[in-house]
Symmetry: C2
Subunit: 297 residues, 2 copies
Amino acid sequence: MNRDDVLAAARRIAGRVHRTPVLTSRTLDAELGAKLFFKCENLQRTGAFKIRGATNAVRQLPRHVQAVATHSSGNHGAALALAAREAGLQAFIVVPSDARTSKRASIARYGATVVECEPTLAARAATLEQVVQDTGATFVPPYDHPHIIAGAGTAALELLADCGPLDQIWAPVGGGGLAAGTALAADASEVILAEPELARDAKDSLEAGELRPALPPRTIADGLRTGLGTLNFDILQRNGCRALLASESSIEHWTERIAQIMKLVVEPSAATTLASMADNPGVVSGRVGMLLSGGNL
Amino acid sequence: MNRDDVLAAARRIAGRVHRTPVLTSRTLDAELGAKLFFKCENLQRTGAFKIRGATNAVRQLPRHVQAVATHSSGNHGAALALAAREAGLQAFIVVPSDARTSKRASIARYGATVVECEPTLAARAATLEQVVQDTGATFVPPYDHPHIIAGAGTAALELLADCGPLDQIWAPVGGGGLAAGTALAADASEVILAEPELARDAKDSLEAGELRPALPPRTIADGLRTGLGTLNFDILQRNGCRALLASESSIEHWTERIAQIMKLVVEPSAATTLASMADNPGVVSGRVGMLLSGGNL
């Protein structure tokens, strides 16, 4: 995969997703010591960047496909539901029984069928397999897939198109869809990944040079609890990306501060970028892009 | 005053204030039955449209002026503080002693001198007069002034430039700076004013054909508690604007809903537009601009 895949994704999803605004804040620039450009994917359709990858994936399905399925307790589920509805496809989303009502409601709002399962990885896999068998739906994975990665990378493409060259682009890393897509799109900008201390498998994997397993899901940045995907790890490693950690208290602080200063509702995963910047002084420098990944609380 | 005053203000403040984004939401379009375009002045510098008028006023002061003063417990104080600092002027802001610490802090953050007074209208006027006498500062009023009105109108100009013709533009009305500026800028669009039931002096004044006094400051939409200004009333009347009321519970509901659906932090005053739209079914129609006036909670 390379930048051309992201450029092709951008053409494919144009007009189907928002071109989100890029905002700036002189107050935060002064506080953090850089010129920051915030790409507001919290203002994206379904409230997160995930609609980019979902739309790019759905639009490349073979003609005979009439339904899609995935597992998600969060943003990917809502994104796939909407992308499928707009392509005239059915969607089945496997959701753990302990997922919040609001998440389930937003998946249902976009016309998908919610299929409940026990809140274990084994139950999730078994339920998804059953759904695929029963309905003939095609599985669209949440991050470990080239079409999802290329779609996610279009946010960084737009950021660069709107701001001109950037010295650094900071992106949160969980499963690694946004991170890998950004690495592909970044051109000459250094990509720096922001990761909660409590979910530090990406940092450990990149430093060890081999994929490390996910940690127990304890961080408040619920979008970043997932373990890094194989394809995602490969792309991040090839592009020489590094990950920096953020403490839980810092993630909480910056979630609140972005609302206060920038008047934007962001989820903790999105604030992890500013948190890791503040927790690792001396790294940020020059003209800097920030991917505010989502706003679903 | 006419549209040319707003066009001149736009040239004067260009590059000194943000050109704020215009956002859309298919969810809210479906809910309210119109195509809505939200002009996000909550994302403006200092978190509100007020910086437009303050900058337009400060940039037209005579050369010999070295300081400005005003009274404000809210957005105008912070806006004048910033506009003055950027023009190399001192600013003195008279703030009632019961104003929230956060408001005072944001005024001080922009380098102004905060002058405390007793929380009565008489004490406010006396303190401001004393400040002007002691310091030689020029009083820049919050809304009842042609430069403030023309500056505020630039938000609607940008909205029309970005969206093309609109059937209606909805703006909240308090003192009437944004309302009157919008009326001047609106071109062929109908301007509809949104006002809390508990602060209905604009509606009563426009229907009676004469200025009615302000009501006791009880609405949660704290930016709209002020009574309508004289010049503002005159402009609104001449342009045939009408005002529609919103209940307190509806204002609260839509403040929350804008955060949930649009991921924007807005103050209750800004949500009053959607609240009055929902409270007066059958009025909204076609392509509709919405002025989200501010985001300072």
